[in-house]
Symmetry: C2
Subunit: 316 residues, 2 copies
């Protein structure tokens, strides 16, 4: 019997404190709560591949880079992404193993350092637009601009660094993820959208890290296709995708077709930095042949994997 | 046909510049060179599991912790170890994949975030002795002592932090390492001896990171037993273990039995912070049932895996 396989993309709320804090304690508490819901999914008998965001965690590393630059050479963004993969994976493997053991389940969790291929010709590199790290006053920001970074004036809050967010092309380590899932492991992988790598050899023979960050939901859509998942679950802090949000006609979307959701997206229903990429990821998964994508809150992921009654459920 | 399996422990020289620098560029250059030798081992038809040190890399992270502490809460040592696992694994997977492709080999590399179980009752916690991070003047060191850290007066160079280096008990993620190796991947794992975790539940149900560092060679010895490797290769910067080092009767050890090597060790032949743990790891592997351990330089690892004519070769 072949098991069903699902990819679950965890949002920031699964790994940061209520105030967005990414301290070790806040991260552990949040992941402990998330692990209970994930273990419920595993208990339902499906193979689970987990991926996750890393925004606040990368932000902290960039501040350290900056404040220690006179003693230790700063490391590039791809290194920062890698670092957050390991700290989040190790906390999550601890907490999820604990939840699996508490349920008497035989599966254990494995955390994989994961690279995602991007194209150096991606338009994202010509116009960096993804804000990262903390706000700084203009004079401090200008010091980093002189080092080649791109910073934008964000008004009252100050200046903020913007970086390229290229399209993910494929997850380099998908075969290893598949092997671990097939061997019965819950796999934590492709954190922060994966470590961005370019391939100067065009055959995998000359991979190198690139200064960029990749949208974790867009990577999740590719990952879900590459590991043959039937369902992509995007876990966030709301139970449903809303249309006409903030107006008297606001309503949650339940079951919806790709065509309908594309229409809502084209009408500008979803915010660029938050629900937009989640909707786009769900659409791409289904439009490229995936069976079903669900956007819902952590509390509903077990129901979302088992039926069509939880969250916003997208089918072809 | 079952393949032979070997564990190779890479020393600092495989991932830092000639001056010990752990900048991204120096790390990549060193790992590129190491990858050529590792790919030769893979080409000889054995399954390869790689582990590695992380001293200079952790040192850099501790400096960042320290200099950014007024803005970003410092992360504990277990987090630092995790961070170095990911940055080293990602560089090594890139470079080794490249070397494997160049040789027309089908294997690819996978980097696993790896936890190593320690005992919180380990005597190492009562008398921290492993130096980490940079030297500081007394007054600066005292600020960290007041925060609960242990620092030692190291004379002219200044003060240095010392941390616990408990015995590794088992590699929590060995089953995942085995699964990846069995699926044909070269596995990069247990970097820096593994992320130290204690188990408050005594059944794997309550793992949590612990502020400590684990000797990477001692972990390699346990890992090699747990993944059923026939050979443990400890790669360092010298071709052989020497006895009577620095005296007129200095001589390299070739083939040697565990009993002979134990005698040399008991006679204080090997320096505590450098060759000592390597010899101890080799001894433990063979004394606990492992077939063969070799200590040699990177250039000789392929020969060391294939025969008894390279390096210091230890058998029962």
């Amino acid at each position: 019997m072949t098991s069903r396989r699902v990819v679950i993309a965890l949002g920031g709320n699964a790994m940061t404190g209520p105030d967005g804090s990414a301290t070790p304690g806040a991260q552990r508490d949040a992941l402990r709560e998330a692990s209970a819901h994930i273990a419920d999914v595993v208990a339902s008998g499906v193979e689970v591949v987990l991926t996750h965001g890393n925004g606040p965690q990368v932000g902290n590393l960039l501040v350290k880079n900056e404040l220690a630059a006179h003693v230790v050479p700063p490391v590039p963004l791809d290194w920062c992404v890698a670092q957050t993969q390991a700290t989040i994976a190790f906390t999550l493997t601890d907490e999820l193993d604990s939840a699996l053991i508490a349920r008497g389940l035989p599966q254990r969790t494995a955390g994989l350092v994961t690279r995602t291929l991007i194209d150096v010709e991606d338009p994202g590199f010509r116009e960096p637009s993804k804000p990262v790290g903390r706000f700084l006053p203009r004079d401090e920001a200008e010091r980093f601009v002189s080092l080649g970074q791109v910073w934008e004036d964000r008004g009252e809050k100050g200046w903020r660094r913007v970086v390229a967010s290229p399209e993910p092309r494929s997850v380099v380590d998908s075969p290893a993820i598949h092997a671990l899932a097939a061997a019965g492991f819950v796999v934590v992988c492709a954190g922060g959208g994966g470590i961005p790598v370019a391939d100067d050899g065009h055959d995998g023979s000359a991979l190198r890290g690139v200064e960029a960050v990749i949208d974790k939901d867009l990577t999740a859509a590719i990952l879900a296709r590459e590991v043959d998942a039937d369902t992509l679950v995007i876990a966030t802090d709301v139970a449903h995708v809303m249309v006409d949000f903030g107006t008297p006609s606001a309503r949650p979307l339940g079951r919806v077709t790709a065509a309908e959701l594309r229409e809502h997206a084209a009408a500008g229903q979803f915010a660029r930095g938050s629900m937009g990429p989640k909707v786009e990821a769900a659409l791409r998964f289904v439009e490229s042949g995936g069976q079903r994508a669900v956007i819902t809150s952590l509390e509903h992921i077990a129901d979302a994997v088992q039926g069509d009654d939880a969250g916003t459920v997208l089918t072809a």
